[in-house]
């Protein structure tokens, strides 16, 4: 008899690379140690992992790398609590526990042929990147391709090398901003919505993806609605403290939906149907 599967058990993964993004944020590139687990691992853009540091605890992180290259994968971590601080102390070669991927993920096939608009704030960019990169692999399948990214200060921008590449790419329209500039900053200053009047946003046939802190999501959605986006074409992610990742612990439940299981990706149309104010 096949033993019962135990979904709460992590698989061990090795840290392959650590990139310092900002003064408090690092990106971890990891691969599973067990060759079979590594070979079978697949994920969708927008899904998340439960990552554990032995002896410290477990926390959810959005997958931030290209699902077309699942042999190793990335997540970006800001050091704020016990697990994230413990992760920041780890070195390349160290072992962590990984469960997942969990959650529904972003639509991909369904939006081929449409224009896409990404609006990211701070470390809301990492989950969007898991969608941006596979779309760029398949660039001709999508129409206009626009990315707007904002952070608090130039020091808070993540993926700085990749942002420079995006700025130079002719096949996408990329703009960024910071709330507060510094001596070296020559770009736009202001919250991400201050980019909107300058961005020539196409509304017709466009699906928008919004990810960032709750307050930013709220104002971006209002702005998108006033531009004429239909609620079903505004897609965002809801954040709740997800303990189990599989719809059992109850912490992330909103109405009859479990963010970890039915989400974390919801359209604004779906969010409006939830019985609690979520944005």
């Amino acid at each position: 008899m096949k033993p019962m599967e135990n979904i709460y058990l992590p698989n061990f993964a090795r840290i392959k690379d650590i990139r310092i993004e900002t003064y408090d944020t690092k990106t971890f590139e990891v691969e599973f140690i067990n060759p079979e687990v590594k070979a079978n691992f697949r994920f969708k853009p927008g899904q998340f992992l439960e990552v554990s540091v032995p002896g410290v605890g477990e926390a959810p992180f959005g997958l931030a790398s290209n699902p077309n290259r699942p042999e190793s994968f990335c997540f970006t971590v800001r050091a704020v609590g016990s697990v994230t601080n413990a992760l920041h102390k780890l070195k390349v070669g160290d072992t962590i526990g990984v469960r997942g991927p969990f959650g529904n993920g972003f639509p991909f096939e369904e939006i081929k042929g449409k224009n896409v608009l990404f609006v990211g704030g701070g470390i809301g960019l990492p989950p969007l990147r898991s969608l941006i990169e596979p779309m760029l692999d398949n660039r001709s399948a999508f129409g206009d391709f626009q990315i707007l990214y904002g952070a608090r200060t130039p020091a808070d921008l993540v993926y700085k090398d990749r942002l420079k590449e995006w700025e130079k790419m002719s096949e996408i329209r990329f703009m960024m901003t910071v709330d507060v500039g510094d001596a070296g900053w020559t770009g736009n200053v202001g919250v991400v919505t201050t980019l909107f009047p300058k961005a020539n946003i196409i509304v017709e046939n466009t699906v928008s993806f919004v990810c960032g802190p709750p307050i930013m999501i709220r104002f971006v959605i209002l702005e998108l609605l006033s531009l004429g986006f239909a609620p079903e074409n505004i897609i965002s992610t809801l954040e709740r403290y997800m303990k189990c990742g599989v719809g059992k612990c109850g912490h992330c439940a909103i109405g009859h939906k479990y963010i970890c299981f039915d989400g974390p990706v919801f359209s604004y149309k779906e969010m409006m149907k939830l019985p609690e104010k979520v944005v």
Partner: protein
């Protein structure tokens, strides 16, 4: 379905045989309170009669312990190893569980085994045998009749192993619903004799009488509250008012046979072995949804209170499982220091309507 007669004088013999083969638990009195306790021959079997006798805590910890190690990490020869604790000889029989608690476990069965089988729940549940005793006389806080939780299990639709019905103070009618039930009656051998039609008639009379014996105080207009909550028409100030009476103590959730939420904790022992364990958690607690950034989507007490009752009476029922998350055991009435257990909340929702009709009547 097979049904038998078991003479009460043979109950002890049967219990002793069961104990030879299983871990056997029965309700027993410790000081003034009842608990499911390991059986020994000196315990009073009188609590297994027709009067509803509910232990203070539901039996959910048999399948979902208050805290349970999920696994441990340890460094062995330089590599991390995972270990899932074994649970020893696990086959357990509860003799004297009441219909509401049996239905509570059925509710947990559905929740913990839908989409995927929860490993920790399932390994305990598969080895748990339930001998339910029907309630001929409900207790003062019982309202199972409003929640399809009792007072008798219905062999046609309810899941159970065995149901004992106290026919006359001398004999039980024993209804066998499952293979597990057959195994247990098999252990008793000749002390079980086939039941006749007369016993069925007495059963029907007892059930009808029990249904008329509920106290009016706890019995509640559940269907009305379910409808008001489902259509989201309970005014927010009512949740604020009810929330103000909530002590955030989590008592109602811990004594609830259907409450299933858990937290996950982590600790490390002095040898560097790290443990992940889960424990009963409560949506009453402000920390339940608090995130490390300090952001708390349900910081307001009224919102948390609303969440609990929406979950019990609407979300899970209407949208997921087709059953409300309440079996009418009445334990939340005992546990709640603020007097806002399930029946009080249902009654408060009902009187919203009464007030509105009063003020907007035929004037």
């Amino acid at each position: 379905m097979d049904s038998y007669i078991l003479a009460k004088k043979d109950l002890l013999t049967w219990a002793e045989v069961i104990k030879k083969n299983y871990n056997l638990f029965i309700p027993s009195r410790i000081n003034d309170e009842l608990f499911f306790s390991p059986f020994d021959s000196s315990l009073d079997l009188g609590l297994l009669g027709g009067n509803a006798t509910l232990p203070y805590l539901p039996p959910k910890d048999f399948v979902f312990p208050q805290s349970e190690v999920l696994f441990s990490f340890s460094l062995q020869n330089g590599t991390q190893k995972l270990e899932v604790p074994e649970i020893g000889k696990p086959e357990t029989v509860i003799l004297g569980i009441r219909p509401c608690d049996t239905k509570g476990i059925s509710w947990l069965d559905k929740f913990y085994q839908e989409n995927f089988k929860d490993f920790y729940y399932t390994r305990r549940r598969e080895n748990l045998f339930l001998v339910t005793v029907a309630c001929n006389q409900p207790g003062k806080n019982c309202f199972c009749i409003c929640c399809e939780g009792g007072p008798f299990l219905e062999p046609e639709k309810d899941e159970f192993d065995l149901q004992l019905i106290d026919l006359d103070g001398e004999n039980y009618l024993v209804e066998v619903k499952s293979e597990k039930g057959k195994t247990l009656t098999g252990l008793g051998g000749a002390i079980f004799s086939l039941a006749d039609i007369k016993a069925q008639e007495i059963r029907a009379q007892l059930e009808a009488k029990s249904r008329q014996s509920f106290y009016s105080e706890p019995t509640s207009y559940m269907s009305y509250a379910i409808r008001k909550i489902t259509e989201n028409s309970v005014p927010p100030e009512v949740w604020t008012e009810l929330g103000e009476r909530c002590f955030d103590d989590g008592g109602c959730t811990f004594v609830c046979p259907c409450c299933s939420c858990f937290g996950v904790g982590y600790l490390m022992d002095e040898k560097g072995k790290g443990y992940h364990y889960r424990f009963w958690d409560s949506c009453d607690y402000s920390g339940f949804t608090r995130e490390v950034s300090g952001h708390n989507p349900r910081a307001d007490k009224g919102e948390r209170f609303k969440r609990r009752f929406y979950h019990k009476l609407s979300y899970q029922y209407v949208k997921r499982d087709g059953r409300i998350g309440c079996v009418g055991c009445g334990r939340c009435i005992t546990a709640c220091p603020g007097g806002v257990g399930m029946p009080a909340v249902v009654e408060r929702i009902r009187t919203i309507k009464a007030q509105r009709n009063f003020y907007s009547g035929n004037k």
